[in-house]
Amino acid sequence: MDLSFYIQLLLNGIVIGVIYALVAMGLSLIFGVLEIVNFAHGEFYMLGAMLAYFLTLNAGLGYWPTILMVTAVAVSLGFILYEALLVSLRGESFERSILLTLGLSMVLQNGAVFLFTTTPKMMVSSLSYSNIIAGELRLPLSRLFALALGLAAFGALYMILYHTRVGKAMRGVAQNRDAALMVGIDPRAVSRLAVAIGIGLSGLAGAALAPVYAVHPLMGFSFVFKAFAIIIIGGLGNISGAAIAAVGLGILESLAAGFLPLVMVDALAFISMIAILLLRPQGLFGRGVRV
């Protein structure tokens, strides 16, 4: 139990936190713009990981082409998802949107179980056993790549949201849908893009984590619960809040895993969520929610 042990835990926590953040930011973006809680979000994370697995092992693609391919497929799936299912939903039909995306999640998840069984698959590649060794620290290359991808996606999303016109439009719709419509922003185009980006981030997260963890059809299901807790902790619809909460939770979990029993680690997200709801219902970074 020396310093390098803590640093190792901390680094692991940052990696997993950044991946949480990718999923949670997409979820938060979709909630912010469309006021829809996407229950199928985790399934796209699962599909991303599955697709990465098959592309690498069956099609023999390298690491970077796989990542690019999976992200492109996920973004297209996001477009299709919006145009096929979500387009008819409005903010006031909150329960309807949950049930609709829940139905989609059931189809995708159980369909994947039916086709591929629940046996976890390990994605073994040349990357799996490469480490960077710095002093006492061992950093698996697959985790480092996941971290780099996550940070790059962070940066890209930030650039889109804050330095492009379409990003401004997205933030506008999230702030006030009617007012955005009045100044000539097409909510449909903006919503479509938000869903595509959100699903794309989720697929990317799956592809980035596929070499780190085992791939199986139920992986998205448990992952998305943490993402839900994260967006509540960060404040519903608050994207940077979700990112900070995600990295915080990743680090906290990783440190807790070094000392506490497993049940406490998995329960950590939920307990923090309840605590936040009791003490600060608008979330850590939320503003102006009437209680």
Binding site: L102, M106, V107, F114, F225, I274, L277
Partner: protein, 326 residues
Amino acid sequence: MTSGWLRALSVLLSVATLFAIPKLTGNEYVLALGVSFATFSVLSGGLNLVYGYTGLLSFAQVGFFGIGGYTAALLVMEQNWSLWAGVAAGGALAALVGLVIGYSSLRLSRHAFAIVSLSFALLCMIVARDWVSLTRGAMGIPGLPIPTMSLPAGMHWRFVQPSDFYYLLLSFAVVAHATIYLVVSSRLGRAMRAIKLNEALAQSQGINPLSYKLLAIALSALLAGIVGGLFVFYLTIVDPSIFDFYYTETMLIMVIIGGPGSFWGVLLSSAVLTVLPDLLRFTTDLRMVLYGAVLIVAMLLFPGGLGAWLQRRRVARWRRPRLVPR
């Protein structure tokens, strides 16, 4: 007046028929389906109270169900309580937990409640699986004893045969549904519906939404906890799979198909959806794919469910012009 009597009569007849089934057939498969129907109808009835009447989408029902099951099993096995005391304690604990979740999340919004209820259900599963010293982990608690009921005059009724549990769960289901019916057809139920339709308007009429929401959550949790306790003694084992998301999805489908806010619709769809998939012999994966597809189609085309369809038909009948004035 006549239609009310007719309805009461048909309900009495159906209940009597259900109770007569073990006398007519000793077929254990039929009885198992009956137990399954009684259990699921209570769960979906409770969900209907929370979602259909009060407008709160809850995923926590399965958590209450399992808490009832685990509490009853642990109290009976470790503390030597009687089944009845254990089941009552399970129901009470479930209701208490329901109040805590409801109070903490409803302060924010019903959106937050939906998400929190979902995480809660998952947390229950994690605790049941990983808190080995309390729940004995993934292996669960097998070998639950056969319960006995003391009857007057020193008699005992041991629940040995499948038909005994059939009677037990069916009786409880009748009590549970009668309770739900009393609530939804009373002032309480009208207040709940008012909150669902327009919370601000209901508030302006002097209705405090939070207390009615909490009442709906607590009552449905109580019923789910009790039925969970009875159900695990029917299975003779409780393990973490009692928190399986499968139960939630099945309950939701029953409520959606039956029509949220329609008492008889949900009851009917619970019966049909218990019996039909079993007769068709789908594997669970395929069944869930199908349920998911049904959920998507229902949400896109048919958001009110069976109940709304019946309601529309009734309205159409009222509107039909009558040639002979009354």
